[in-house]
Symmetry: C2
Subunit: 223 residues, 2 copies
Amino acid sequence: MNSSVEENYLKALFMLSSTKGEATVNEVSRFLDIKMPTVNSMMKRFSEKGLVIHENYKPLKLTAKGRLEAALVVRKHRLTEMYLVEKMGFGWEEVHHIAEQIEHIHAPEFFNKMDALLGYPTVDPHGSPIPSKEGNIIVNPYLKLSDCIIGEQVELMAVGQSSASLLKYLNTRELALGAVIHIDEIEPFDRSMHVSYSGRTAVVLTSLVCDSLLVRRLDKESK
Amino acid sequence: MNSSVEENYLKALFMLSSTKGEATVNEVSRFLDIKMPTVNSMMKRFSEKGLVIHENYKPLKLTAKGRLEAALVVRKHRLTEMYLVEKMGFGWEEVHHIAEQIEHIHAPEFFNKMDALLGYPTVDPHGSPIPSKEGNIIVNPYLKLSDCIIGEQVELMAVGQSSASLLKYLNTRELALGAVIHIDEIEPFDRSMHVSYSGRTAVVLTSLVCDSLLVRRLDKESK
DNA sequence: TAAACATATTAGGATGGTCTAATATTTTGT
DNA sequence: ACAAAATATTAGACCATCCTAATATGTTTA
């Protein structure tokens, strides 16, 4: 069984390699804020445990086993976040650091119970997909708000990073998942956007925020 | 802040010293299944942290600070057990090992939320008192069933130890907290008891079981 | 293409938490 | 009251997880 520490490395590898299929020691080091030599020796261990493929000076690749175990940690994290929001009444900006701890609990019946009580959800409160028990995960097909153009109407589907500060910021603008956003204007010099949604108009979102908002395009006719 | 390991030592000290006000290295060692020298050196650290008073070859006494921090760990454990039973539908025999892990989470808002959702309970599903946020705990005034005599009628208020095996045993006899038990007979040679309660008659409970059942005497007239 | 920079690895050390073996002290039983 | 037993302590070792310093490799760029 993997320790909490090992689970954190697995999660990091899973997230970092989700797009390219691989990650570097340096990326893991920055992600976890752990020095490279420490990461390096842990990867040696992971290699022996059959969790990653690691040749010297080459990038890290999760094995099928590693990917499964990593996905199950992410599953525990996201199920927990969903439970905290849906069943306990926490705000979406409060749950990350609690889930960060609960995800390391070894008690399948506990997570299965949450899953059942929630009705087997497929996304967490931030719109991120919850991996299945088999480790399968539906990759978000969404695009960044920052990649949209003037005049488009989009629905907010997920946030790219669930930092408390971003989420609190969105709370103050009453911008929640499902919001239908119309892009009124884009400032060319700083790529900030003027948008309107559900009663609010002329809201300005900086490009940093727009980079973190994942949306899907709506037909002109969709409400 | 105390580590999970330290929290376990605190809990052990709290439980073991609840009656006499002190505990020995040997008792802690047996309770936690950790060798005496290890306990000894941890107690040295606790001494430095101001959690216990420890003179060489003398018993251990929690300081006020140690007692408070210990009580808060017990509080987290028992609140969690209550939440798991009341809000998630677990059986009282399933919750101990889950709570044993959740009790180490550092997130006051999480435990405060459970507390509120439960309506500020004062006992856990096994009848054990939940310490207050100030570390106060109401000591059980109950007596062991094994200290009762033939003809007495008592109410089951708590179980002395919440091992899954005992609780499953009680489940199969349909013996739950609140049950009104009448003592029909006591076998002198092995101190086992013949009892009846809520429709069940001639149930035999060994002295080991009777030692673990905490009850209060009922007036002859109480139902 | 060679120097400079970024990334990766090796070597060696620190701390937390555990152990066993040896020794010291206290308690118990005859 | 003394020997035996139980309890407590010290000493020294091990593993997990982190670190820094030094070195090796790979990549970028003048």
